[in-house]
Symmetry: C2
Subunit: 153 residues, 2 copies
């Protein structure tokens, strides 16, 4: 389990993954070789899974974002799963318990494109689409503390 120093490093990288080892060293109170060593181990252990960027989809003309719940018809589950994976406008998808097998995020340029994509699923699944209006919570980390110091308020 990551210790407190690891958590400081992770939080610092979450804010800005391009921070230099030296900057991370200052933040954590370690030397830069130690930081490098810790990052290496965190990657190795699968704690840090990716260094990545966030892009504004609107900059690329993706004016609409939708959450689509998908309920495949009997026997069509694998086909639907492959279809979702093959359509790049689905930028995220979870397989979940309950009636809706999949919950996916869809980025499209227009209502017409939304319709066209949902249409591809329509012969093998029922879909339920909600257009994203705003995002009250942007992707963030859950609390990283080991011990539940906060009694789960």
């Amino acid at each position: 389990m990551p210790d407190e120093t690891d958590q400081i490093l992770i939080a610092a990288l979450m804010e800005d993954s391009r921070r230099s080892l030296k900057a991370l060293a200052q933040i954590s109170g370690l030397s830069s070789p130690s930081v490098a060593e810790r990052l290496r181990r965190l990657e190795e252990r699968g704690v840090l899974t990716a260094y990545t960027v966030t892009v504004d989809p609107k900059s690329f003309g993706y004016q609409l974002q939708a959450i689509v719940r998908i309920r495949p018809m009997p026997g069509r589950m694998h086909a639907i799963e492959r279809l979702i994976q093959a359509i790049p406008e689905f930028t995220e998808c979870d397989k979940v318990t309950g009636e809706d097998c999949f919950v996916a995020r869809l980025n499209v340029r227009s209502m017409e494109q939304l319709d066209a994509i949902l249409d591809k699923l329509s012969d093998q699944a029922e879909t339920n689409t909600s257009i994203v209006k705003t995002t009250p919570v942007k992707r963030r980390l859950p609390p990283l503390k080991h011990y539940a110091t906060t009694p789960e308020k």
Copy 2:
């Protein structure tokens, strides 16, 4: 709108946001000062919105992930929105059209914690919870091409 070189840079950073300017220069066929200049402009224009890391929640004991749809009772929408924001285990939340006002992602350590958190909403909203079993599509970028060279297969 970002040109093709910008797209190459963005895709390269999406894969690994810690790539050096020199590495990005080689990938894109530019010099490193030019790469630095382009990144600066992409940030300025709000195309690149963050450099960040992805963490495995399980490494921190978050054994369960759920998608929660939340339908506030009349007049309780703002209160619910603030509540979601205040509970750090909600790591993502969109406000959407339709009956369910919010769709949120919840990370918890146990079923008990799941219950405890949903309980906090229960007097002001109806919730519908789906446990995430697998993630067929991990967060990715939609196609970045300007022109729809792919006729939306």
